[in-house]
């Protein structure tokens, strides 16, 4: 079986920087496997400015930040398989990929997991009510608007005050939607002050701190949410409830690293170190732990790439 020096799983900022660093560290045969039809990961949908201040010392948008690494990659002979999903890895460093031409199993001397994170959905929140259309995560809405060009709704309430939710409050307002409220259960906003000012205050969107959505109502489509003030134990206070009529609820309630591949293979990830419990398998970016700033993802991924290169060059002992 053909063996790669390194297979990088995921072509977001972590995968791109890891592959480039491994090449700089002397590895020759490198493959990046990406399930999307393009490189760049989540950055492609993050069209706002605010990336690269640490790494490039200038303020770039997400696509601009990704573009810089994609252009560097093009100058190398690092192989890229797009529209290809890794469905299994093994502790023996085999990688099973399903792509346009079917399924294949590839052998590697090292693997870097750079699969990013996903958003927490409605299920774990335990909000009462019906199950109407119109409840989506903020990141999904971001993809609809910025990549696909669809508006998810006209009257929107945002649950959670994480940065993705704040950014989408502004984005939807600019595109003509009415964003009626941002509801945050904690006494303090989750997102950056800069986003509170430029995404909420600028457009006079009310921020309800120490409030929660107690119920989502609607037959086919969301019709209203019920909102209540919470006490210091985050329990709704009786009598404080009020209703907001809306057709869409965006959830911005946290991100979770995506590492089912490692889990299924019994490969331990401690959430802190780029080394996994299996020699030769490394992890970086949001797959390791959620990063707020992409510049930190790049730095971490460069360390993972260098570590993989050192591991392979030492003949498998790091």
């Amino acid at each position: 079986m053909h063996g790669y020096d390194l297979i990088v799983i995921g072509g977001g900022p972590a995968g791109l920087a890891a592959a480039l660093a491994a090449r700089a560290g002397g590895l020759r045969e490198i493959l990046i496997v990406e399930r999307d039809i393009e490189l760049g990961g989540i950055l492609n949908q993050c069209i706002h400015a605010g990336f690269g201040l640490e790494y490039f010392k200038e303020e770039l948008t997400g696509p601009e930040y990704a573009g810089r690494f994609i252009r560097l990659l093009r100058e190398t002979d690092i192989e890229v398989a797009l529209d290809s999903m890794v469905v299994e890895i093994t502790p023996e460093l085999l990688v099973r990929v399903i792509g346009r031409d079917g399924e294949r199993t590839l052998a590697a001397k090292s693997i870097i997991l750079a699969t990013g994170c996903r958003e927490r959905a409605r299920g774990p929140l335990g909000i009462a009510g019906t199950r109407p259309a119109g409840v989506i995560t903020a990141g999904t809405a971001q993809r609809y608007v910025n990549i696909e060009g669809y508006m998810p709704g006209k009257c929107v309430v945002i649950l959670g005050s994480g940065d993705v939710g704040l950014i989408m409050a502004r984005r939807l307002t600019l595109e003509g939607a009415k964003v009626l409220a941002c509801v945050e259960i904690m006494p303090k906003a989750g997102g950056l002050p800069r986003n509170i000012v430029q995404c909420l205050y600028d457009y006079k969107i009310p921020l309800y701190l120490s409030h929660c959505i107690t119920e989502i109502c609607g037959e086919k489509r969301v019709e209203q949410v019920r909102v209540a003030r919470v006490d210091e134990n985050r329990k709704p206070i009786a009598g404080s409830e009020f209703a907001i009529a809306c057709d869409t609820v965006l959830l911005s309630v946290g991100l979770i690293p995506e590492n089912e591949l490692a889990q299924a293979a019994g490969i331990g990830i401690d959430g802190e170190n780029i080394e996994t419990a299996t020699p030769g398998v490394f992890v970086c970016g949001n797959a390791l732990h959620v990063h707020d700033i992409v510049d930190k993802v790049t730095a971490e991924a460069q360390r993972a790439g260098a570590a993989a290169a050192a591991y392979v060059k030492n003949g498998g002992a790091s």
């Binding site: 948008t61 696509p63 601009e64 573009g67 002050p193 430029q198 600028d202």
Partner: protein, 107 residues
């Protein structure tokens, strides 16, 4: 006007009166920030425009310089009737202050 200073992570809560006098700031940079926010606030905007012949139907754009806050919705309207045709280069002028922020190959 009440706002939060975004110059550094201390995030001071600022009050700015109509003549631009600032209170609540812990340092002089906060005073400058607060006065500018009150007297001539500016923002860099991002959005998307239609594009044909590329892998997606939207191409991301930004204003190439900060524009006055009260011109934001006028700037947005400029994009309504624009349709780019791939291939598109990054940094290409679109209309008014807007430039593209990614390259998109022809499909």
């Amino acid at each position: 006007m009440e706002t939060i200073c975004t110059v550094c992570p201390k995030s001071c809560n600022l009050s700015v009166d109509d003549r631009g006098a600032v209170t609540g700031n812990l340092c002089p940079r906060g005073e400058t920030y607060g006065r500018n926010e009150r007297l001539h606030p500016v923002r860099v905007l991002s959005s998307t425009v239609r594009v044909s012949g590329a892998i997606h139907h939207r191409c991301p754009v930004k204003t190439n310089f900060p524009i006055p806050k009260n011109e934001i919705f006028d700037a947005m309207r400029l994009l309504d009737d624009i349709e780019l045709i791939a291939p598109v280069l990054e940094g290409a002028e679109v209309v008014g202050p807007w430039v593209t922020t990614r390259e998109m190959a022809g499909a």
